[in-house]
């Protein structure tokens, strides 16, 4: 089966290890000096509160825990990375509030240890995986992926994880399992802000089995070489770069294998807006806005919008999953 060759990475563009490992230290020490100067000048120049959050990340439970990663041929090249500050302060995580700046403020409440993923449904036998076991299951890849939200903004994020297929093989699904469903953590006592949205919690997402087994689908444990910040879906999530961001469920506690299409939260809320597949597709408009273009987060205010790419630019690797399907109907 032709999935497509991963791009060759010339050794000249590989970041030297010392520089790569020290990039956060370099950025943090620069920010501390800049913050000091700004404070001395009495001007909140570049968002002193955001700088302080990066320097003293009280909200990131196991943050700053470095993860040992290896370079992956499946990483995306030729894109400028979105800053850590933007990735950790612009989040749709409605359990912690519906405004984009709320998860950074509130997700400290998320208890990331102890943490297990319970596997059930059409599997050889139900299993429970501890998060620390999952972290050691396979070597962790450093994978840069584009991230395209259905709201027509996008980022480029250096995730850390391994292919979801590796995890699924451990689950030993039966041959009649055609779909997999992901259940996210939900506890109203911890996530009281969830009342701001009239949603039937917990958050549920799902994939067809062949989509889940595609090497691009990433069981994700970190970003920028460190453990996931809580607001980005700690301690474990999936990342599906060819689909709209809401398909990439966060803070997963349950994985279920089924023989029919599973319920997914946004599809339940508005089936005419959020389809089961929700592949990034500039030719299929969202009912309330066009999907032809997107705003790249972190660009200056008057930058031109970008053209949205079919399958978010991952056409070579995933188009074959959908041959023969009417993507306007099965959106």
């Amino acid at each position: 089966m032709l999935i497509g060759k991963p791009p060759e990475i010339p050794s000249s563009v590989i970041t030297p290890k010392a520089q790569y490992l020290n990039r956060h230290l370099n950025r943090r020490s620069f920010l501390r000096r800049a913050a000091g100067t700004a404070a001395a000048a009495g001007v909140t120049a570049l968002g002193l509160d955001r700088t302080a959050e990066l320097v003293a990340p009280s909200l990131r439970a196991h943050a700053d825990t470095k993860l040992e990663t290896i370079k992956s041929p499946l990483t995306t090249t030729g894109e400028e990375l979105t800053s850590l500050g933007d990735i950790t302060h612009y989040n749709n995580f409605y359990e912690f509030g519906v405004q984009k700046d709320q998860p950074a403020k509130n997700a400290g409440a998320l208890p990331t240890r102890p943490w297990t993923i319970k596997v059930d449904g059409l599997v050889k036998k139900p299993l429970t995986f501890d998060i620390d076991t999952l972290l050691k299951l396979r070597p962790l890849d450093d994978r840069v992926y584009r991230h395209r939200c259905v709201e027509a903004w996008s980022m480029v994020i250096p995730w850390v994880g391994y292919s979801l297929s590796e995890f699924i093989n451990q689950c030993e699904p039966l041959s009649k399992a055609k779909y997999v469903q992901f259940i996210s953590y939900f506890n109203f006592k911890v996530e009281g802000w969830a009342g701001q949205a009239h949603i039937d919690w917990p958050y549920k997402e799902g994939l067809r089995m062949d989509e889940a087994m595609n090497p691009l689908a990433l069981l994700t444990f970190g970003l920028y070489g460190e453990v996931l910040p809580n607001q980005d879906g700690a301690p474990v999530r999936v990342v599906l770069p060819w689909k709209y961001g809401f398909k990439s469920a966060k803070s997963i506690v349950g994985v279920r294998f089924l023989d029919h299409e599973p319920n997914t939260t946004w599809n339940e809320m508005a089936p005419d807006e959020y389809g089961f597949y929700s592949n990034v597709n500039p030719n299929v408009d969202h009912p309330r806005w066009s999907q032809k273009t997107e705003r790249r987060i972190g660009q200056p205010l008057f930058s031109a919008r970008r053209t949205t790419l079919m399958f978010n630019g991952y056409q070579d690797q995933v188009a074959s999953l959908y041959t023969g399907m009417n993507l306007k109907k099965d959106f």
Binding site: V43, G47, H89, V98, W153, H198
Partner: protein
């Protein structure tokens, strides 16, 4: 109301109305508008428009309940025009930053996306109110016709609230608080009218 109090109050109101704009300009200059400055500007200008419109609609009920505050009417035009100003900046944010001045995109949006239709309708309803806000226009139209025309503000604010509901994701309840406030403010008029009519039916209403 003495001019010596009125003028400082008006200056204060002018400055207060300019604060949201000043914060956006400062945010742009210091790059503190957040990761998505386009959305920040759209949200700030939109909510300021709705808030100012609501304040203008509170003035008459308050005057009827507390006649000593009759002078508040002198602030209604100022607040209304600032509401129109922020509404216009909000519209320009869409035109420049979301649509990129691309006419086919805008035609597409205005014909197909209902939240944009509601928003444009709200702005179009406010436009004649802004244009007839001058003393000259009030004299030309005559008090009765002018008042009739300016009742369009009720429809405009309702379109604005609907625009907000249709813009957020299904299930998100963020527009609820402004909806409740606007509903109370709009209901206040008929309620006060009925209440005052019953108490003093022979007295002509101001």
């Amino acid at each position: 109301m003495k001019r010596s109090i009125l003028i400082p109050l008006k200056v204060f109101t002018w400055l207060a109305c300019l604060v949201p704009l000043a914060r956006l300009v400062w945010g742009y200059a210091t790059n503190t508008l957040g990761p998505d400055p386009t959305a920040t500007i759209a949200f700030t200008t939109g909510s300021t428009t709705l808030n100012l419109l609501t304040i203008t609609l509170v003035i008459t009920p308050v005057r009827k309940l507390i006649p000593q505050l009759n002078w508040l009417i002198r602030f209604r035009r100022l607040l209304g025009l600032f509401a129109f100003f922020y509404g216009t900046v909000h519209l320009l944010t869409y035109v420049a930053l979301y649509a990129g001045f691309d006419v086919p995109t805008m035609i597409d949006d205005v014909t197909k996306r209902r939240f944009i239709i509601a928003g444009v309708a709200a702005w179009l309803l406010l436009l004649p109110l802004a244009l007839t806000s001058t003393n000259w226009a009030i004299r030309k139209l005559g008090g009765k016709n002018w008042n009739r025309l300016h009742k369009l503000v009720y429809l405009a604010i309702v379109c604005g609230v609907i625009h907000y509901w249709w813009q957020v994701k299904p299930g998100v309840l963020a527009p609820m608080s402004i909806t409740i406030i606007v509903s109370v403010v709009l209901l206040a008029r008929p309620l006060i009218y009925l209440f005052q009519k019953r108490r003093a039916p022979a007295v002509k209403q101001a």
